[in-house]
C-alpha cells in the first residue's frame, strides 16, 4: 500500500476511531462518511471505539501475500466490537487458542513491513481478553 494511502487513515487505524450516524445511532468501523440507512439525511460524527469485542469467525493464514509471508501462520478474524460493527483484524494468539465466541481486546501493533519502501505499517490487532 502506498505511503500516502496508509498515512491518510493513521488516526483511524492506530486508535480505532470510526464514525457514528447520530440520526439513527449506528456505529461504523471501518469508518463511513455516508450512513447506508439514512444516506444524505444522516449526520456523521467521529467515534472512539472501546476496543472490546468477540470473535465472529476466524482462520489461520498459512499462505500469505509477500507482505505477510514472513509472519505466517497468523490468526485472522472478524471481530464484532461491543458497539456493533464488525472488522477484520489479526488476533495475537496461538492458532489452537482461537475460537468463535472468544472475547478479545484491541492492541496497537506492527501489522506489516514493506520491504520495498522500508515503511513499517502499524495498526490494530486483538489479543485474548479471557
Amino acid at each position: 500500500m502506498s505511503v500516502s494511502r496508509f498515512w491518510r487513515k493513521i488516526p483511524q487505524r492506530y486508535n480505532l476511531i470510526g464514525t457514528q450516524c447520530t440520526t439513527c445511532g449506528r456505529y461504523f468501523y471501518p469508518p463511513r462518511s455516508l450512513c447506508p440507512d439514512c444516506r444524505r439525511s444522516g449526520t456523521i460524527v467521529e467515534h472512539q471505539f472501546r476496543g472490546e469485542g468477540t470473535i465472529v469467525t476466524y482462520t489461520v493464514i498459512r499462505t500469505a501475500s509477500d507482505l505477510f509471508e514472513h509472519t505466517t501462520p497468523y490468526v485472522l478474524a472478524i471481530v464484532r466490537l461491543d458497539e456493533g460493527p464488525n472488522l477484520t483484524a489479526q488476533v495475537v494468539c496461538r492458532p489452537e487458542e482461537a475460537r468463535i465466541g472468544m472475547r478479545v481486546k484491541s492492541v496497537f501493533r506492527r501489522i506489516a513491513a514493506d520491504g520495498e519502501s522500508g515503511v513499517i505499517h502499524y495498526g490494530t490487532k486483538f489479543v485474548p481478553a479471557e
Partner: protein, 387 residues
C-alpha cells in the same frame, strides 16, 4: 426489449499457458466462437471482454482496444469494452452483451473473458486476487482471498452440520467431472483423502479446497432471437440475466455464510425467466472454494441452509444425480482464469443444452450460471434454455 440467443461458443484449453500470450488466448477463443456461430468478423457489431486484472497480471490496460485490434476488428472501428467485477467479470461481460442486443442497439455481439495469471509469482498472484476484497480494511489486516472464504467455512461449520468429508466431496465430484472435460486444467480424479492430506492454506481450507491459478479465455456470440436461425440450427435462448451487489467487505455482511447477493440474483432470475427451481436441470456455480459451492446451492434456493453438504455426499449434485452441479469440473477442476470463468460457464451450459458435452453429457434443457465477484460483493446469474 428483444429476446436474445447464444449462437456460438468457444473456449481455449484452461491450463498454464507458458507459451501463449494474453492476446493470443483471446484470439483463439474468439475465433472458435465465431466459427461455431457461422459469423464472420465483419458481421460483429460490438465486443465486451471480462478481465479482472491484466494491469497486475501482465501489466497491460486498455484491454478493449487491444482485443479488438488482435481480433482484426480495430479497422472496422467497432465498440470494444472491457468490464471488470473481479472474478465475476466474465458473467458481467456476457450480461453487457445481452443488454446491448436486447435493447436493440446492436445485433451481433461477442462476449468474452480472458485472464493470464501465470506470468507473476505466487505472492503477487495472491495479492492481486486479494484486491477483489476490501484492500484498505481486509487486505491491510493480512486477509487473503482463501482466508476470507475460510472464515465463511468456519462460520458455516460452526452453525450447520457440515462435515470435513462432505466439503471434500465437492472437490472430488468436480474432479470427476473435469476428468471428462477436454478443456479442463485438471483431468485426474481425486479421493477425499487427497483433499484431506493436502497442505492447509487457511484453516479449514486445504489446497484441494481451492480453485487453481489458470490461464484461459472463452467467448460466445449473442444475437436477437429472431435472427438466430439465420446462423445456427441450435440457438440457446437467454431466459434471464441478473446482477446483484453487496458490501465489498465480508465483515459487513448481514450473515457471514450467506451470500445475500446470490439470494437476490437467484430470486430475480427465476422471476425474470418465469421458472421455478424444479425447472432448472443443471447449475454451473462459482466454486472458487469448496465451501462456495455449498453456499451457492443453498443461497440460490435449491435446498435449505445446511443441507448442501448432505446432497453432495448423496450424489444429488453429481453427473448422474437429480441436479448436476458444475458438469464442466467447475472452477476447481476446469480451472479459474478469473475473467474467463463467467463466459466458460455459459459455454458449458450451451454445450450441455445442445447435447455436445460427450462423456459428461447430462439431460438438460435449462441451465443456470452463477458467477461471483470477490466474496459475494457482485453476483451475476444467467438462465439459459433450448429453443
Amino acid at each position: 426489449m428483444r429476446d436474445v440467443a447464444v449462437i456460438g461458443v468457444g473456449c481455449t484449453q484452461f491450463s498454464e499457458h507458458w507459451y501463449t500470450s494474453f492476446r493470443n488466448l483471446f484470439v483463439e477463443a474468439g475465433t472458435l466462437a465465431l466459427e461455431d456461430a457461422g459469423v464472420t468478423g465483419g458481421e460483429v457489431d460490438a465486443l465486451y471482454v471480462g478481465n479482472m486484472s491484466a494491469g497486475r497480471f501482465v501489466e497491460q490496460e486498455h484491454i478493449g482496444a487491444l482485443i479488438a485490434d488482435y481480433a482484426g476488428l480495430a479497422t472496422n472501428h467497432i465498440p470494444s469494452t472491457r468490464v471488470e467485477a473481479a472474478c465475476a467479470s466474465g458473467g458481467l461481460a456476457f450480461r453487457q452483451a445481452v443488454i446491448a442486443v436486447a435493447s436493440g442497439m446492436e445485433d451481433v455481439v461477442v462476449a468474452a473473458g480472458v485472464e493470464k495469471m501465470t506470468d507473476v509469482g505466487t505472492g503477487v498472484g495472491v495479492d492481486t486476487l486479494a484486491g477483489a476484497a476490501d484492500r484498505e480494511w481486509e487486505g491491510f489486516a493480512g486477509a487473503t482471498f482463501p482466508g476470507l472464504y475460510a472464515m465463511i467455512a468456519n462460520d458455516y461449520m460452526h452453525r450447520y452440520a457440515l462435515t470435513r468429508e462432505q466439503l471434500a466431496q465437492v472437490a472430488v465430484k468436480n474432479h470427476e467431472n473435469g476428468a471428462k472435460n477436454p478443456i479442463a486444467q485438471f483431468r485426474q480424479q481425486i479421493t477425499i483423502d487427497t483433499v484431506l492430506n493436502s497442505p492447509m492454506v487457511a484453516d479449514p481450507l486445504r489446497l484441494f479446497d481451492c480453485s487453481p491459478i489458470t490461464d484461459g479465455a472463452a467467448a460466445v456470440v449473442v444475437v436477437p432471437l429472431e435472427r438466430a436461425r439465420e446462423f445456427t440450427d441450435t440457438p440457446v435462448r437467454v431466459l434471464a440475466s441478473v446482477q446483484a451487489s453487496d458490501t465489498i467487505a465480508l465483515h459487513d455482511r448481514r450473515d457471514i455464510s450467506t451470500l445475500d447477493a446470490t439470494v437476490a440474483a437467484g430470486r430475480r432470475a427465476l422471476r425474470q425467466a418465469r421458472l421455478e427451481h424444479r425447472d432448472i436441470d443443471m447449475l454451473e456455480v462459482h466454486d472458487c472454494f469448496t465451501i462456495a459451492e455449498i453456499c451457492a446451492i443453498e443461497d440460490l434456493g435449491f435446498c435449505a441452509k445446511g443441507e448442501a453438504g448432505r446432497l453432495t455426499e448423496e450424489g444429488v449434485t453429481a453427473l448422474a444425480g437429480d441436479l448436476p452441479v458444475n458438469t464442466s469440473g467447475g472452477l476447481k477442476a476446469c480451472g479459474h482464469p478469473v475473467g474467463a470463468t463467467g463466459i466458460k460457464q455459459i459455454y458449458e451450459i450451451v454445450t450441455q443444452i445442445r447435447g455436445e458435452a460427450g462423456k459428461r453429457q447430462v439431460d438438460a434443457e435449462v441451465g443456470l450460471a452463477h458467477n461471483v465477484g470477490g466474496t459475494g460483493a457482485t453476483v451475476v446469474v444467467h438462465i439459459l434454455g433450448g429453443c
